[in-house]
Structures are given as C-alpha cells and as structure tokens.
C-alpha cells in the first residue's frame, strides 16, 4: 500500500500500532495553554483512564485525538490515521461520547439511535437499533423523548449511540460525571464488558476513585501530563510510601504530623489519615516512633492512586489539592 516505506520512520499500520499515539500535543485558547505538549500512547484492547481535575485539558486533548480540534503543535495517530489530515477516517472508526449530553432532546430514543446509525451508514439500521436498545435496557424508553430521560439513562443512550457502528475504539469524555453511584458502577461494568470483546476505551474522569477501574492511567493537570503508565505500577513509579493511621482526634494529629521530617503528605480519607513520603527509611522511622508512643494505630499500606495524584498535584503547585473531588471513599474505607 505505502510506496513511501522508509521515508517516514515506522509509520504504524492500523492493525499493529497502538490505538492512539500522540506526541507534543498542544492547544492554546488565546494566551491560555489548555493542553501543553502531551505525549500519550494508548495500547490496543485496554481501558485507559484519563484523569485530572476539571479544566485540566482532558476534553481538549480528546477532541484533538478525534480530529475535532486541530492541534497548535504536535500531532499523532488514532487507529493509524493522522489526526491532522485524516479526521474523516478516524470519525468513521471510533465511537466518541462528548462530555455533555449531545443527542437530540426533541427526538425519541429510537429516533436518535436510528439517526446516528444512518450517519455511520450502518447496515440493517432498524435491526441494529432494536438490538442495541434491548442490550442496553433502553427498549422500554424507545418512544420517549431523550430530554425526559434521567442523567444515568442519557449516558447509557449516548454510549449505545456510539456503539452502533461497532467501533474498535471508544473515546468517552467524562461518561460518569453527574450520574448517581449505581449508574456509575453499571457504566464501568459496561466498559469492561466492551473491553472483554477487545474494544479499547479511553475514558476521562475527574473522579480519582475511578482510577482503579482502569488498566492504564494518564494524569493531567493544568494541561500537562504528570504521569502515565500501567495503573498498578504507578505508585512504585512515583516512589511514594504510605501508612494508614486510625484513632481518635485525627485533626490534631494531622497538624502535628505535617511538621515532622520525612512526612511529605497527610490526607484525610473519612476516618483515617494517609501519611506519605518518598524517603521510605525516614517515613518508617517516624511511623514506628509514633506507633510505639501514640494512641493511634499505624499500618503500612500499598500507596493508592489517589495518594499519588494528590502528591503529584501538590508537587506541581496546587495549594488546594485537598479540595478536589475524590468521589465516595474507596471500598476499604469502612474497616
């Protein structure tokens, strides 16, 4: 196919390259740099979590990856197609779910799905739409106007709409924002279900607790990627060590611990403190000392992703890292 083999270093073919690969992706709005030299590789078949607080540049990055926005600098490929010049090909192959509900509120569920199916020139539109509605439990709302659905059902409808043409790659922009916890759980189940069928998903979210749902993580803050990698390797990659502390009067303890050497971060998660530091030896010394003399229980733990994110953010100049939404406490929090 490509006669120019060799002129370009390793042009990836759609079949064997990563699902998405971008380098130096940059976008400015006026003087504001919304996305600042982002490099990212999304391997095929994984669930890739794109995390970061609101306004950090997730939507802008995803739009560039779909060819909806032109980067000011940098570039890359999505499913092997150049994001600057081949957006038409990309659009045909991916399923993109915008952050805001973007289907037609004055059309019914069925009308919306038929419309989207036709836009992608799906064969057997009626059959595909009826089957998709049944699969996503939307059949009972088939003739209801989309505007009258609840937030969670709107999200499901949006997801169903971008699955109609059987894309191999999903780009989902904050699919779980503003929906109830039950709907969030169901949504992630659906994404994992798609993952088992070999579908790659890039999912952005500002809920840090959703990191555990992902195989890979990229964390973006103020337009810059602070870290990317396999989810379970990230804490080790950062080199952060953590102890969990439970007991009475955590507030006083929190203040006192912050002043101690070797302790770089103290974060409160419900009824316990996460105490972290990068120098394992010094942190352990402080912890053992405290555990021996104080009234609190100290436990050495694996550093969680949320600890890492807060650590990365405060190291990159955010004073109010604690003010970020963390979602419900992790499952182990009640113990």
């Amino acid at each position: 196919m490509s006669g120019a083999a060799g002129t370009e270093p390793a042009t990836p073919r759609a079949e064997d390259g990563p699902a998405i690969s971008v380098r130096g992706l940059t976008k400015r709005f006026g003087t504001r740099v919304a996305v600042d030299h982002v490099d990212m590789d999304v391997p095929k078949g994984v669930i890739y979590g794109f995390l970061g607080p609101n306004g950090s540049g997730k939507t802008t990055t995803i739009r560039m990856m779909c060819g909806l926005l032109t980067p000011d600098e940098g570039g890359g490929r999505t499913l092997g197609h150049d994001i600057r010049t081949e957006s038409d090909r990309i659009k045909e192959k991916i399923g993109y779910m915008p952050q805001r509900f973007s289907l037609y509120g004055d059309l019914t569920v069925r009308e919306n799905l038929r419309f989207m199916a036709r836009m992608y020139r799906v064969r057997n539109v009626r059959e595909v739409v009826e089957r998709t509605m049944a699969e996503h439990g939307l059949d009972r709302f088939a003739d209801q106007l989309a505007d009258t659905l609840s937030g969670g059902w709107k999200q499901r409808l949006s997801l169903a709409a971008c699955l109609l043409h059987a894309p191999r790659l999903l780009l989902l922009d904050e699919p779980t924002a503003g929906v109830d916890p039950k709907a969030r759980v169901d949504f992630w189940e659906e994404i994992r279900h798609q993952g088992r069928r070999g579908i790659t998903s890039l999912v952005s979210t500002h809920y840090m607790d959703e990191a555990i749902q992902c195989d890979y993580i990229a964390y973006i803050f103020r337009g810059q990627l602070l870290i990317t990698g396999k989810a379970h390797e990230i804490p080790r990659q950062v080199g952060l060590h953590t102890w969990w502390v439970t007991g009475p009067d955590l507030e006083t303890l929190e203040k006192r611990l912050r002043a101690l050497p070797g302790i770089e971060q103290v974060v409160r998660f419900g009824n316990r403190l996460h105490v972290s530091g990068s120098d394992a030896a010094r942190l352990d010394a402080v912890a053992r000392e405290e555990a021996a003399h104080g009234t609190h229980t100290w436990e050495q733990r694996e550093t969680g992703l949320e600890d890492v994110f807060i650590y990365l953010m405060s190291r990159n100049g955010s004073e109010d890292a604690d003010g970020l939404p963390r979602g419900p406490a992790p499952a182990g929090g009640t113990g």
């Binding site: 038409d88 805001r100 973007s102 509120g105 004055d106």
Partner: protein, 377 residues
C-alpha cells in the same frame, strides 16, 4: 469514501423535519410572520376599492351616454358625484381630491360606436392607488358594455357584433410610478421569504451549537454538503408552502393578478430561496445563541426593506443606495415578482434579474460552504 452519501443526507433531512414539526416557535414563525405582514402591509395600504368618488365630463348627449351615467350611478365601484364641464373643472376635481376619477365621454361617442370607429373613453385617475385604477377600467368597461347592450337594440345592434366597440384609455396623474399596494403586495413576498428563510435556517443550525448536538454531528463522518442540504431542504419546502399561501392570499384578498409566466416566476423563486437559506447558514456561523441568530437575521432585513425598491422607488434612490440595492437579492427578486405578476413578464423580461440572482446564489453558497466548520476550532 468522499462521495456524497444519500442515506446520511436523508437521515439529516428526516431528523430536521421531525424537529421542525415538534418545535412550536419555528412553526409559529413560519406561518405567523407571513400572515401578519401580509395583513399589515396589504390592508394598511389597500383602501376599500368601492364607492370611489367619480365625476364625468360628458360631451355626447345621446341615450348611450345617459345609459352610461345611469350605470355609474347604480354601480358599486363608483360613487357618481355629477358631471363636470370642461377640462379645467375636471382637473380641479382631481387635484382637490374631490374625485378619484373623471370619466370623459368624447363628442360623437354613440355615433362612433355605431359606425364601429372604436371611440375612446378616457379615465383621468388619481393614480396613487393603482389597484383602484386597474379595477376602475374593468368596472367602467362593464358599465359601458351593458349600456350599449341596453340602448343599441334593433337595427343598431349590429355594432355589438364588432369586437370591442370602444376602448378605455387611462390617464394616470400624480403617481405615474404606480407604487402602492399593487406593488407592495408582490414585493412583500420578497421580504417575507428573506425574513423567515434566513431566521428559520440560522436558528435551526445555532440550536445545534447551543445544545451541543453540533459536536455529535461533527464527530460523525458526515460531509458538509450532506449536513447543509439535509438541514436546508426542509426549509425550502417551508418556502414553497409560504409562497403558495401568499399567492392565494394576494389574489383573493387583494385582487393582485398573476399575469405572467409561472415557469419564469419559479425559476427566480427557487434561486431566491437558495440564497436566503445560504445567508441563514452564514448567520448561524456568526451567532452564538438562537436569540442572536434571530436578531441578526432581522437586522439583515432592514437594508433589504429600505434599499430593494420595496418601499422607495429604486429609480429615485441616490447612486450609492442603488449600488447597495443592486447587490441585494431581494431587489432582483422583487422586480421578477412584479414583472411576472403584474406586467405579463416572461423569461425574456426577467433575464437580467435572473442572471443577477444566479450570480449572487453562487457566491453566497460558496461562502457558506467555506464557513462550515468541520472542527470545533
């Protein structure tokens, strides 16, 4: 891959129709604006064309002339105020506004009718209302014909067989340009279409941007031409419906005739519709909200109303105004409508304006296709 996809185009078309039928504001705008404007402009200017004050200068004393006067006295259309003697008195009656018409029956009228010499009856008219003048000719002809039929019986009836035993000559005064309701009503079609087509299209598109559905539309592989045509064609249909309703109303309520070539009219009409929809498309690329789209659309209407010849006669405008006016599509469509409806216009008669419309259409369409954003930049 780059080909135009009929199925995508049809999908957009269908969607747009459903939305149009479900949206009450659009629907009200489609029907409400034309009806309101027509009634407003039509009735505000169109005076009751009945019982118009009329005098007559009678230079023939025969039974036929007397029958004509009798016919005028009983007619609904004229209110006969009695005879005048001489041209100067006739002039005075018209200029004072005492009479709208002075009818002049020439000397030897009856004799000439019988001889088949086709004598002329003159209507001197205050032509500030051309509708009235037009109808006056018709009404007078009827009266004279009836008078002839009643009076010239027996051996004299032969004259009847001759085609058109007399003719009516109209002498217009005060407003030779004939600019009023007869002109206003057809011209109104140009204004109504410009207003509704531009507003409805721009609102329909901005709605997509405002509600965020444009992001979905752009994220699909749809081509600009598919989107543009799919979104615009439903409104072409609206333009057709509005025009049919308008023509019916103009002909029945305001007795505006349709004298010319329908095909010539349709040619101009279709181009004009396309132009206005494309302008609506461009307005949508500037406006951020549906409200803004509406406002910009109505704002673009102002120069059209003022400079197209709709209100002020085009020939009477200063050069710069004519220059602006001649690039406005409404100026040309207005002329086409007037020529075709009122002046027996055919393709030859409207050739120039048709060509001007075609040029404008090409430019506007290209501009709007260029303005269509494939990305969210």
């Amino acid at each position: 891959m780059r080909r135009f996809s009929l199925s995508r185009f049809l999908a957009i078309l269908t969607k747009e129709f459903i939305q149009m039928l479900r949206d009450r504001t659009t629907f009200a705008m489609m029907i409400g604006i034309p009806v309101m404007q027509l009634l407003l402009f039509g009735y505000a200017i169109n005076t009751d064309p009945h019982h118009l004050p009329t005098r007559a200068e009678i230079n023939d004393d025969g039974p036929l002339a007397r029958a004509i006067i009798a016919g005028m006295e009983t007619s609904d259309y004229f209110r006969f105020l009695g005879p005048v003697s001489g041209e100067r008195e006739a002039e005075a009656a018209l200029s004072s506004g005492e009479a709208s018409f002075v009818i002049v029956i020439p000397p030897g009228f009856e004799r000439d009718v019988i001889r088949g010499a086709r004598p002329e009856i003159l209507i001197a008219a205050d032509a500030s209302d051309p509708t009235a003048v037009g109808s006056a000719v018709g009404a007078l002809s009827g009266i004279v014909e009836r008078a002839i039929a009643q009076t010239l019986t027996g051996p004299l009836a032969v004259a009847e067989a001759a085609p058109g035993p007399f003719s009516v000559v109209v002498h217009r005064k005060y407003n030779p340009e004939r600019r009023t309701s007869l002109n206003i009503v057809p011209g109104l079609l140009a204004i109504i279409l410009a207003m509704t087509m531009t507003a409805i299209t721009s609102v329909a598109i901005v709605r997509e941007v405002e509600r965020g559905t444009m992001e979905t539309l752009i994220s699909t592989p749809a081509r600009p031409l598919e989107v543009m045509m799919g979104k615009i064609l439903p409104y072409v249909l609206v333009g057709y419906i509005e025009t049919v309703l308008f023509l019916i109303a103009a002909m029945t309520l305001f007795s505006v005739p349709f004298t010319g070539d329908l095909a010539a009219f349709l040619a101009g009409f279709n181009i004009y519709i396309v132009i206005n929809l494309a302008i609506g498309f461009m307005v949508s690329t500037v406006a951020r909200t549906q409200m803004q789209a509406m406002q910009i659309s109505f704002f673009t209407i102002l120069p059209t109303i003022l400079l197209s010849g709709f209100i002020f006669p085009f020939a009477g405008m200063p050069g710069w105004a004519q220059a602006i006016g001649s690039v406005l599509p409404a100026t040309h469509f207005l002329r086409i409508v007037r020529k075709v409806m009122l002046k027996f216009g055919d393709f030859a008669a409207i050739r120039q304006d048709l060509a001007a419309l075609a040029v404008i259409a090409v430019i506007v369409t290209i501009l709007s296709l260029l303005r269509y954003r494939r990305t969210l930049d």
